[in-house]
């Protein structure tokens, strides 16, 4: 059985505390992989704000399904997906995933899989505000193509 935790929240999260707590003290876990997404400034330093919109209800369902799919494909002891919404500024942490497994390769593959699916199967939309205006971030064809890896 995989312990799955899904959290969708507006407030900041404490990445360090989440990492410290995740799979803590488990003796059946040999490997933990974490990923954290951060609001990155544009090369021309023009990003003032990133706003994340989501679909309450569907978001939690979609994330739970992605986590359960990962737990079916790999032998995982724990999975965490945490994603924020609302306004964020450059340098702020947007989201994280964490995977725990007996073995390294499974923890890595599962974290990579979670990110690929989260990116184009969970109902989040990013809007960027720069000095010159606001626009929605376009999905990349490569994001959709990445799903065929799995």
């Amino acid at each position: 059985m995989t312990a799955i935790t899904i959290r969708v929240q507006q407030e900041p999260f404490d990445f360090g505390a989440e990492c410290a707590q995740f799979a803590k003290g488990r003796q059946d876990t040999g490997a933990v992989v974490t990923f954290c997404g951060i609001v990155r400034d544009h090369e021309d330093a023009a990003l003032e704000m990133m706003e994340i919109e989501h679909y309450p209800g569907m978001t939690e369902r979609a994330l739970d399904k992605i986590a359960r799919d990962a737990a079916t494909r790999w032998s995982l002891t724990e999975v965490l997906i945490l994603h924020r919404y609302g306004p964020l500024t450059p340098g702020e942490r947007i989201m994280m995933v964490a995977t725990a497994s007996a073995h390294r390769a499974e923890a890595f593959a599962a974290a990579d899989f979670l990110m690929d699916y989260l990116k184009s199967r969970a109902p989040f939309w990013k809007k960027e505000t720069t000095r010159t205006g606001s626009d929605w971030v376009a999905a990349k064809d490569s994001d959709e193509a990445a799903l065929s890896r799995w």
Binding site: Y55, M58, A62, M95, R121, P123, F124, W136
Partner: protein, 83 residues
């Protein structure tokens, strides 16, 4: 039937509201989209390129030819950009 329709991201902005309730007999998502397009210019604009629109029925991603039978909540939105 009565359907709750939700719009997100630029679809919400173009249509000008986040949700509405419609009375419709459309059998499929595609038919519903045709009805909406016929309503007003802002709908026609929002749904002008369906390749850029995704749809969920009762919070599950579906295709445009999916049946609306038994559906309660339909959501339209652009391709997702989480992570």
């Amino acid at each position: 039937m009565k359907l709750d329709i939700l719009y997100f991201a630029w679809l919400r902005e173009r249509i000008g509201l986040p949700r509405e309730t419609v009375e419709t007999d459309a059998p499929t998502v595609a038919a519903l989209v045709e009805e909406l397009r016929a309503r007003e210019e802002r709908y026609a604009l929002a749904f002008s390129d369906l390749a850029a629109v995704r749809v969920a029925i009762d919070q599950e991603l579906r295709d445009f030819d999916a049946s609306l039978e038994g559906a309660r909540e339909i959501a339209f939105f652009p391709p997702m950009t989480g992570g």
